[in-house]
Each structure stands twice: as C-alpha cells, then as structure tokens.
C-alpha cells in the first residue's frame, strides 16, 4: 500500500517543484542563477505559452495588423532618491527601455503605486513630477494607473509598477534567439554606474566624486540605430546582473558562444575605484541607461557610427563577437592575454572581507 496516499480533499493541484531553498532569498531577485531557477521552476511550468517562451524583456505580438511589444516591471529601489534619478525616473525609463529592447517605439505606459503609510507627501510629489518629466523626455504617455496604501512597516516607502505598450516597425526582427555566429557585439557606453551610485548612497560610502546613475530612456538611441540599419539581431539593456548576466542569457538562448575582450569594455575611473574598494566585478553591476546590440558584421560599423552621433551612444564600442564554438558560454580575453569564462552571477555580489 502507498504510504503517502494523496489527500483528495485538496483536489488535484500541481506539487511544489523541488527547489534548493525552502524560502525565497534576496538572491532570487538578483537577476542571476537563482532568479533564473525560480523563473524556470515556479513560473514557466504554470504560465507557459508561445509569447512568453522567448523570455525577452517584453512580449511581441500582432494586434489588429500592428506589431506590438508589451512589457512590465516593478521598482522597489532603496533609497527612492539617488544621484542621477529617483524611483520615478527609473520606473518610466525601465519600461521604456524594455520596450525599446524589443525594437519597439514605446507609446503608452500604466503605473501602479504601492505606498507605505507615512510617506511624506512631498516625496510622493517629487517622484510623480520626475515621472512626468521622464515620460516627456522619452515621448511616452502615462495613460492609466492605480494607487494602494499599505500599513506602516508593510512596504518600504514606495513601490512602483509600470507596464507599457509600443509598436514595432516593419522589417525589425529583434529577439535573443537571433544571435548568430559572426555577429558583432556593441556596448553603448561605460558600465556599472547605476549599481555603484545606489550602493554608495545605500551604504553611506563617500567617494571623492559622486557617481551618478546612468538612468536614461534608450528608445531614441534605438530609433537612431534602426533608422541606420535593420541588421540588428538582439538588443538588451544590462540592468540587474549586469553585462555578464545578459551575455550569458543570450548565449544560452541562441545556443551560441560569445567572445569578448576585457580591454574594450569601458568602465569609468570612479566606478572602477569603487568596485576595487567593494570587491565588485563591474561586469555584474547594474546599468539603467546602456544597451548591448548584436548586429550583422557588415552593418557593425555604420551602426556603431550612428550610435556615436547620439548623446547616449557617444562612447559606444565593439566589445566582441558571436562564435560557433563553446555554445552557451561567454569567454573573455583578459587584459594580460589570458582567457577566462564569464559566468552568470550566482547569488548577490557580497562585499568582501579584505
């Protein structure tokens, strides 16, 4: 006889998938391996469908003859005000960028606010004004919204969710699976500024010069690129988990190898200094106004040059290429001529001992 008879009173429900951890850890939200595992084991089996399957920044579909992109994101950043922006600018730009990474022109945004009891009204006002300015700068409209207030202690000042819809022009085919051997990989500018700006205020670290978040809407830059050439195969903004995580996701999704050069990856002096002190690898630190593009080799130069005419792409560089060997793996040529694997981040980056 079966020693563990099924409890029929509970009805037929799917069992909880076997996870390594019984509780959700912060690292499950870090954009690295644990986030990936949680999505694969908990969400995908239940939500699986053709539009979700590519696991892109947004879903792409045709609606009434128009090709659309649809995306959502929640913003829970602490502190809500930081050098270079606030939770409001981040909430607008984040979703604008997710749509832009689908090759779409972002049009309409929704925004939902979860507000903790006791939040100064002035803080809320500042955030809302920032959102208005960010929406104007990105050329999108905030067309619907919602507010909820939760008990003091049940939220952390302010959480914002934004969703957005955009239109994809004819001939644009952008998707992580499109990365092909031979593709050139372009990075739009110096990395790790957002993550380090947040860390420095959160931890009360004082550096000689203030590092500002790079938070910015990337749709203008993407439009410039797409006007120049449609030979763009993949676009991604390396937010949490940084450049390393995004490259690993693309390598895995398209089953191609990625080869990059450490020397080509721009990191500002201030950010490098902060990373040295904290023991962080800038490849894993978040950006909010940078993009990575995989483009046809024959269009790489004209796309790169067009990017450099845009303020958000003036420091754009070629950082590597897609290769046919070592599929699923990112390999970096080090500055001293060695090579190493660039792994996906596991857990959070934790400041080191010494």
């Amino acid at each position: 006889m079966n020693e563990n008879p099924m409890n029929l009173n509970d009805g037929f429900t799917c069992p909880l998938p076997l996870m390594e951890y019984k509780n959700v850890l912060l690292a499950h939200g870090g954009g690295g391996k644990l986030s990936h595992q949680m999505i694969q084991k908990i969400f995908i089996p239940q939500f699986k469908n053709d539009l979700l399957d590519p696991l892109h920044d947004g879903a792409m579909f045709t609606l009434g003859g128009a090709r659309c992109a649809f995306s959502t994101d929640s913003y829970v950043i602490n502190p809500i005000f930081f050098p270079g922006g606030d939770i409001g600018t981040l909430a607008v730009n984040g979703t604008v960028n997710d749509l832009a990474m689908c090759g779409a022109r972002p049009l309409f945004l929704s925004s939902a606010f979860i507000i903790e009891e006791g939040l100064p009204m002035e803080d809320l006002w500042r955030v809302v004004v920032s959102m208005k300015q960010a929406a104007e700068a990105a050329g999108v409209q905030l067309v619907t919204g919602d507010t909820k207030v939760v008990d003091r202690g049940k939220g952390d000042k302010l959480f914002i969710n934004t969703s957005g819809i955009g239109i994809i022009a004819d001939g644009v085919q952008i998707n992580p699976k499109q990365a092909k051997p031979g593709d050139k990989i372009i990075l739009s500018g110096s990395i790790a500024e957002h993550g380090i700006a947040i860390m420095s205020v959160r931890e009360g670290l004082e550096f000689e010069t203030q590092i500002k978040s790079d938070c910015a809407p990337l749709n203008g830059l993407v439009e410039t690129m797409l006007t120049t050439s449609k030979e763009i195969h993949v676009l991604r903004d390396p937010t949490r988990g940084g450049v390393a995580s995004v490259l690993n996701e693309i390598a895995e999704s398209a089953q191609v190898g990625i080869s990059i050069s450490e020397e080509q990856i721009p990191v500002s002096e201030e950010v490098r200094g902060a990373c040295e002190i904290l023991g962080f690898d800038p490849l894993y630190v978040a950006n909010e106004g940078k993009l990575i593009a995989f483009v046809s080799p024959n269009a790489a130069n004209i796309i790169l040059n067009s990017m450099r005419t845009h303020p958000l792409g003036k420091n754009a560089v070629l950082i590597g290429e897609v290769v046919a060997n070592h599929p699923g793996t990112v390999i970096m040529k080090t500055r001293i001529g060695g090579s190493r694997v660039v792994d996906m981040l596991s857990g959070e980056q934790l400041p080191r001992i010494c």
């Binding site: 390594e20 951890y21 509780n23 959700v24 850890l25 912060l26 690292a27 391996k33 644990l34 595992q37 931890e203 670290l205 020397e263 002096e269 490098r272 200094g273 040295e276 023991g279 793996t329 390999i331 080090t334 500055r335 001293i336 001529g337 060695g338 090579s339 190493r340 694997v341 792994d343 596991s346 857990g347 934790l350 400041p351 080191r352 001992i353 010494c354």
Partner: protein
C-alpha cells in the same frame, strides 16, 4: 588608476611571462598563500600562460574557507536569537553551516546585516541599546587591527551590548603546518601581501631558512603575481631560499607597528582549528581576559553545538595544496556556488569558487 593600471598592463605582463619561460628549466611547485591571489591568477588567466613545468597550488589564505564549521554554526545560532543584531562582512553570509547559512537566517526573519567595517557595528551598538550587537570577527592578520579597534572603542564607550564572535587565524603557523607535513610538495611561496602590510615579514625569515623555501611577499594584481613568480623561480633555479619583498609599495620589513600594538593589546595567541585542516597550535587570536566581556562565546550559550561536515568535500586537501578543486568528485556537480558543500566554493577568495566562475572545469 595609479598603482592599479600599471600592474594590469598587458605589455608588462607579457614581458614577465617571457622571462618566466626563459629562467624556468625544471618542474617546480609554488603555492600562493592568499585567496585574493588565487582569484587574480584564475581571473586573468595567468595559469594558462605559464610554463607547463610550473605548478601553482592554492593556499589556505581564504578567511572564509578556514573558519571552522563550529564557529559558523555558533554564528547561525546567535543570529537566530530575537534580541540579536548580527553583523558580518558580506562573504560570510553564504558559507554553509551544518544545516543553514546566515543568509537563510536573514530570510527567516533574523536581523543579519552586512557591514564594511567592525566600527560600523560599534555604531549600531550605540544606536540600538536594546539589542545585542554581535560582529563576526574572522580573518587573518589583515582584519585583526580593525576588529581589535572595534573592541577597544566599545570598551572606551562603555558599551555593554557589543561583542565579537572571534575566529582569527595567522598565516605563518599555517605555512609551517604545510611545510612540516610529510605529504608537502610546496617548494616556494608567494606570501600574502596584505597580511605582511600589517605584520611585516620578519617572522618569515626563520621559516625560509629552516625549510629552505623561497618566500616572496607578493601583491594582488596580475603583474604583481607574475613578478612574484619570477622572483621565486629565480631563487629556486639558483638554489637560494630567502625572503624577498615584491610588494614593496605596501609592505615594510617591520610592518605597521601601531596596528600590531593594538592587536596585542586586545588579542592573545591561541590554538585554532582550521576548517578542513584541523587544529594548528598557536595559529590564531582570541580576546585577552581583560576583554572577555566582549566575547560572544561567553555571552551566548553556544558551547554544545554539534557539527556535521559533508563527507564529499575535500576542501582541506585543496587548501593544503595537495589537490586542485577539479580533483574533487563533487566539484560542479553536487557542489556549486548556489549549493556549496564547502566554504571554498562560496567565498570571493575561495579556490573552488575561482575555478568554477572562471571556467577551470575540465583540466
């Protein structure tokens, strides 16, 4: 960035690599003591550029890795208590105890916080008089001065709610333990530059003479490591065995005297168990009796902890230079950074984590 860029310069590195190939005539085995050096070696791909006759083995210099399981379990037990605010350097949070790590305690509602300096923990003690603030004081001689300073400050401030869970370890006794082992294969050392910045290098001179091993105090950037390797190789090839200082931009022979005085004011030398290696006599610091009131092991009832180490993990042999991480049957299989069986797979200085992250999977 000065003192960084010139030590990561590709051309300078190539020149050292050429010279290393030129002077090397026989097989040699060199151990880099510090986990920070191990990571530089693997991260910048130095090991692939060296002569195949040269073997680099990775030493015990990862504070996270050698902290005994018993102390981790004690930390977990203390951090689980409701009136405790447990503070630690970030690295220690993911180290597996017998059953849990500190991050799990945090996820279950324990107040576990990452601090950058033990002095921040002292500030927390001032700000939270109704809580017991415990700092996880681990590390080599490098972290000892700041940890000692926190106890000294807490004593000056008359704080009754600050204590440290202390598991300090010392490098020279561990080197002696490796050298005196019958299985030893290490012929030269790259000593840990930051430890020597605090302690100087006088105590290494008798070690080099007694065991006839070259010891080169070495920094942490790729060019530092290459220069350290070259200096060690030159000694080996010429049959010399002395202490030399590659990291002269930071290390002086006598070290940092005020830091040493502070250490000796607060700490005394004690026997210490090293995770994976075992008890090494006179290889650690504990609080002096005058400061016993700041010892978390006296404040909390944690004397009867039972520990359970994974039978698969060969961390001890890895840290003594007897095996490489990929010699372990669990490496990359049962043991990964998300699910570590031993501490070297966790820490940013652990040899197994370095091999895993930087793709040294299939040698």
């Amino acid at each position: 960035m000065r003192f960084i860029d010139e030590f990561r310069n590709g051309k300078t590195a190539s020149a050292y690599i050429e010279r290393i190939h030129a002077v090397s005539t026989r097989p040699w085995t060199i151990m880099e003591i510090c986990g920070g050096q191990t990571h530089t070696i693997v991260k910048s791909g130095i090991d692939d550029l060296l002569p195949s006759s040269l073997t680099l083995v990775h030493g015990p210099g990862c504070p996270v890795c050698v902290t005994p399981l018993e102390i981790i379990d004690k930390a977990v037990a203390i951090a689980s208590q409701a009136d405790v605010l447990f503070t630690s350097f970030g690295d220690m949070l993911r180290v597996p105890g017998s059953e849990k790590d500190l991050l799990t305690i945090k996820a279950q509602g324990g107040d576990v916080r990452i601090v950058y300096s033990p002095l921040d923990a002292v500030k927390l003690a001032q700000q939270n008089p109704d809580k017991k603030i415990v700092f996880f004081a681990v590390g080599f001689e490098t972290t000892a001065p700041a940890n000692a300073m926190s106890v000294w400050q807490a004593a000056q401030l008359g704080l009754k709610n600050y204590s440290i869970l202390c598991s300090h370890v010392l490098v020279p006794p561990a080197m002696e333990a490796i050298l005196s082992s019958p299985a030893n294969r290490v012929q030269g050392f790259l000593a840990a530059g930051h430890v020597c910045t605090v302690m100087g290098y006088e105590e290494y001179i008798p070690l080099a003479a007694k065991y006839r091993v070259p010891i080169v105090i070495t920094g942490f950037e790729p060019v530092d490591i290459l220069q350290g390797i070259l200096m060690t190789l030159q000694q080996l090839e010429e049959g010399r065995s002395v202490v030399e200082n590659q990291y002269s931009r930071s290390v002086r022979r006598e070290g940092n005297r005020p830091a040493q005085e502070l250490i000796h004011k607060i700490f005394q030398i004690t026997d210490r168990a090293w995770r994976g290696i075992g008890l090494i006599p006179k290889s650690g610091y504990c609080l002096r009796n005058e400061y016993a009131a700041f010892d978390a092991e006296n404040i909390f009832d944690v004397a009867t902890i039972q520990t359970k180490e994974s039978p698969l993990c060969i961390a001890g042999q890895v840290m003594q230079g007897l095996k490489k991480p990929h010699d372990c049957t669990a490496f990359g299989m049962q043991c990964t950074p998300e699910h570590p069986l031993g501490a070297p797979m966790v820490s940013s200085e652990g040899a197994c984590a370095a091999y895993f992250h930087y793709g040294k999977m299939d040698h």
